[in-house]
């Protein structure tokens, strides 16, 4: 069908949506036809079929398109009826009638035939959905749609877009639409006024268009494009720098989280705890467990697993302290060996009890995606949360160590055990508490890491070495040192990575640590007094 016609229909439908619905109620089988058309469409004719559905204004059009996009539009093998798969886990799937939307109950996946979609089609689909969204009530949605359209415009949607431009009330959205059109204009028609529209835009597609213009023969266009590009260069550099810094801090925050627990068990108690990584792992698995307990509410589960993770790891810590470490007072080497054994046991335990496979930990809505600062800079949310979390944990620990009775006793015991004892401090109790605290914090790290990386038996292994590096680099027994060290190493690493590559960057950082320790044999913030000797 011709594009204008499609457009007018769209408009018509959207203006009198209620009527549309009413019309849909006493369905005339148009739904089936549309779906059949889509199901039987050849790769070439798929887009038309999609447009048709979009234009039909059928109340469930959107549902169909989305189901199609998610590979959930299927056809029952024997009846040929077209259904939407509601739940596609396991061997029997729940399906609903596509047209009426009524639930048809379970059906073996053997009997279902998926209506195929591929990447190319999905692209077109995205365009179509965006077009639909351009007519949504919510200007946010419209702007989002407009942004999606940038660089996706082809002559099929050009006129409707332009048509839409005139009616668009909100400036921001219009602005976007203009840019979207301009990109098309520059790339296809090489129009110079379009270049001016794109000037100053940070959107990568906009710049790509300008770059293509720079490459063109037309000198005027070339000049205009160059000028337009120049105006954003500086801004881009700034954004680049900001981005790298953010990357560095976020990696740093991960290191800090992983190491801070160790800074207590190792730094304060002098226990070389090789099982630290496994305590982190326990925290991560707790998150997974929580999400299993509360299916469908990953967010809530995640929040609950903060205390839970702490508790689990802390209890494990106490178990380790009571069963092993208490017998190894003042023999750090032995603690290393014993805890190494413990870590082996814990790993294999998870393998046999839960599974050697990684576990899925879902990222809640509010943590996924990224915070868009501008077209060139957006900060990933999950890492931002982790960064914040790390700082919170650190602050919390500082409070405990500086302000609470426990903290006081811990410092007393670590500085002079005998003296502290004689002053009536129960050293053993303090040991337990300290180790539990350190382990608990490791658990917290696990909860956070579950949002960034694998939750599997090897999780701990990947962090134990780095943790020790951070603690030592920062200066054993000094929490501030750990914080600074973690953030520094993280940032250095990310600064190096672009030109050195991931591997070399890591190597350089390690060599840097080695040389740094030559200069300052006791780390960034050396501990003063007796405790430092030996």
């Amino acid at each position: 069908m011709s594009i204008p016609r499609l457009l007018t229909m769209l408009l018509f439908v959207l203006l009198m949506a209620p009527v549309g619905t009413a019309m849909a109620q006493q369905d005339d089988g148009s739904g089936e036809k549309l779906l059949e058309q889509l199901a039987d469409a050849s790769p070439a004719s798929t887009e038309e079929a999609l447009q048709a559905i979009a234009a039909s204004g059928h109340e469930r059009a959107r549902a169909w398109l989305e189901a199609y996009g998610n590979n959930r539009l299927s056809r029952v093998k024997d009846t040929g009826e077209i259904v939407i798969v509601l739940n596609n886990r396991g061997r029997d799937w729940t399906v609903a009638d596509a047209v009426t939307g009524e639930n048809l109950g379970e059906m073996s996946r053997r009997d279902l035939d998926r209506i195929a979609i591929n990447n190319a089609v999905r692209r077109q689909l995205a365009g179509v959905l965006a077009m639909l969204d351009l007519y949504a009530e919510d200007p946010e949605v419209r702007e989002e749609a407009a942004r999606d359209l940038m660089g996706k415009v082809d002559e099929a949607v050009l006129d409707p877009l332009i048509g839409r431009l005139d009616e668009e009330p909100v400036a921001a959205v219009r602005n976007r639409l203009e840019q979207a059109v301009a990109i098309y204009r520059v790339e296809q028609e090489g129009s110079i006024e379009a270049v001016d529209v794109l000037a100053g835009s940070l959107h990568p597609r906009a710049r790509a268009a300008l770059n293509s213009a720079v490459a063109s023969e037309n000198p005027a266009l070339k000049a205009a494009a160059q000028k337009a590009l120049l105006s954003v260069e500086q801004k881009l550099k700034m954004n680049r720098a900001a981005e790298t810094l953010y990357f560095g801090l976020s990696l740093g925050s991960v290191l800090v989280l992983a190491a801070i627990g160790l800074a207590i068990t190792f730094g304060v108690m002098g226990v070389i705890n090789m099982a630290h990584g496994e305590l982190i792992m326990l925290g991560a698995y707790t998150t997974w467990g929580m999400q299993q307990l509360l299916p469908g509410q990953p967010g809530l589960a995640l929040i609950l697993s903060i205390p839970a993770g702490f508790l689990v790891a802390a209890l494990a810590g106490i178990a380790i302290e009571r069963s092993v470490i208490q017998f190894l007072k003042g023999r750090p080497l032995e603690t290393l060996l014993a805890t190494f054994g413990v870590s082996l046991i814990l790993q294999q335990l998870v393998r046999t009890v839960i599974s050697p496979l990684n576990r899925t930990v879902v990222t809640p809505e509010w943590m996924s995606g990224s915070l868009v600062i501008n077209d060139a800079l957006s900060l990933t949310l999950n890492r931002m949360y982790v960064l914040g979390f790390a700082l919170l944990v650190f602050a919390g620990l500082m409070l405990i160590m500086r302000r609470t009775r426990l903290g006081l006793e811990v410092r007393a015991v670590t500085q002079n055990r005998a003296m502290a004892r004689s002053m009536g401090i129960k050293a053993t109790r303090v040991d337990i508490m300290t180790f539990a605290l350190g382990s608990g914090v490791a658990g917290l790290a696990g909860v956070a890491l579950s949002q960034l990386t694998n939750v599997g038996p090897n999780l701990g292994q990947n962090y134990i070495i780095d943790s020790f590096m951070v603690v030592v680099f920062g200066g054993v027994g000094n929490l501030w040192g750990t914080l600074v060290a973690g953030l520094t190493l993280g940032t250095i690493n990310q600064l190096l990575e672009p030109w050195a590559g991931a591997v070399l960057a890591k190597i350089i950082v390690l060599v840097f640590i080695i040389l740094f320790i030559q200069k300052r044999p006791r780390g960034l913030f050396p501990q003063k007094g007796r405790a430092a000797e030996g």
Binding site: T352, V476, V503, K519, P521
Partner: protein, 378 residues
């Protein structure tokens, strides 16, 4: 002469005696008895024992620094692996044009990532003498530079341990990179000959096994010689009261450096003998976990008693072999439990246990008897 001294002391004679007896026994049982005879020692077992002996030598090297010098090195795997790579490079060059691509010079992995010519650092490794020299020199040199940096600036305790760990970790990452020209993750493998002997013949295996045994003997005597010499007592002095030792006029950092380098070279030799027997060298030998494991063997056997290190290494690895076969799904539990129990209930390691027994029979703690030192350190 300091190397002769240990030969006069009972414990060393005993150790060497048992070692050579074992070598002879295995050789005899391997050659004399027919396949299938219950007591026949198969070529597989011989190689396995050869591997254990390499680990034993490595453990002795680690015990020398951790037990007597008080330097807990968590990076000795690096020296072991470097020695191994030196040997591996020699073995690679020995393949010659028998490789898959039949290139006379380039090892297969270079051909098939189409490198044009041999990197400079591969030169010379086609000559046995050069390669074997490198087995000693490369780990030695690394230990020298690293140790000089560390000891000069008096890096001690966990700080030292952690940077040794950083060292081996960095090397591991480096060797994983294919640009390095050491075969990346696949490492060096598919060896054919050593000194003209076919590596896939049982005779060669037996030879390597015996060679390893002798190397262990020599290594043991060298270490024993050091620890029973005045220098050995100075090392113990450095371990227990560094400042005091300085005020007596000893240059602590040089003592540490000397012992550290010797230990590194021994580790290198162990690695070099290890590679032809297991048939592959790959960056995982650099992994910090492996280095920690070595320390575990030593502690298990009993620190500051060289024979303890030998026992520990052989025992743990034998346990591994058995467990991984008998209870594949649960062997880590056993191993982990072993570590925990020994450290908690046998702080002196197995050697400590033996010594307690021995104390009851005779009280032979002569002026320079390692056990005394070990006891006092606990």
């Amino acid at each position: 002469m300091w190397l002769a001294r240990p030969l006069q002391e009972r414990s060393t004679q005993l150790f060497l005696g048992i070692l050579f007896l074992a070598l002879i026994a295995v050789t005899a049982l391997h050659l004399a008895l027919p396949e299938g005879h219950p007591l026949h020692v198969s070529a597989y077992t011989v190689t396995l024992l050869g591997k254990y002996l390499c680990y034993a030598l490595l453990a002795v090297a680690v015990d020398l620094v951790s037990g007597y010098l008080g330097i807990l090195s968590l990076g000795h795997g690096a020296f072991f692996a470097l020695g191994g790579y030196a040997m591996g490079m020699y073995l690679m060059r020995q393949i010659g044009d028998r490789g898959t691509y039949g290139d006379p010079v380039l090892p297969d992995f270079m051909v098939f990532l189409n490198w044009q010519e041999l990197p400079w650092y591969w030169y010379g490794f086609d000559m046995a003498w050069f390669a074997f020299a490198m087995v000693l020199l490369v780990p030695g040199a690394l230990a020298l530079v690293f140790g000089w940096l560390a000891f000069r600036s008096r890096v001690t305790g966990v700080y030292l341990s952690i940077i040794t760990q950083a060292l081996t970790f960095a090397l591991m990452l480096a060797f994983f990179r294919n640009e390095m020209g050491f075969g990346g993750n696949n490492g060096l493998t598919d060896f054919r000959e050593i000194l003209g002997f076919n590596l896939r013949s049982d005779a060669t295996r037996l030879g390597l096994f015996i060679a390893t045994g002798i190397a262990l003997a020599i290594g043991y005597v060298v270490c024993r010689g050091i620890v029973t010499s005045k220098l050995g007592r100075v090392s113990v002095a450095c371990r227990d009261a560094e400042a005091r030792t300085r005020f007596l006029g000893y240059r602590v950092e040089r003592v540490q450096l000397f012992v550290f380098v010797v230990s590194a070279m021994l580790a290198g030799v162990a690695g070099a003998l290890y590679v032809p027997q297991v048939g592959i060298i790959n960056p995982s030998e650099f992994s910090p976990i492996f280095s920690i494991e070595i320390v575990v063997w030593v502690a298990l056997g009993g620190r500051a008693t060289l024979y303890g290190a030998v026992i520990g290494a052989i025992l743990v690895n034998y346990a591994k072999t058995v467990f991984t076969g008998v209870m594949p799904d649960a062997w880590l539990f056993a191993l982990g439990a072993l570590f925990v129990l020994v450290t908690v209930f046998l702080p002196q390691g197995i050697a400590g246990l033996l010594r307690k027994r021995r104390k009851t029979t005779d009280d032979g703690s002569g002026p320079s008897d390692a056990p005394t030192t070990a006891e006092a350190t606990a």
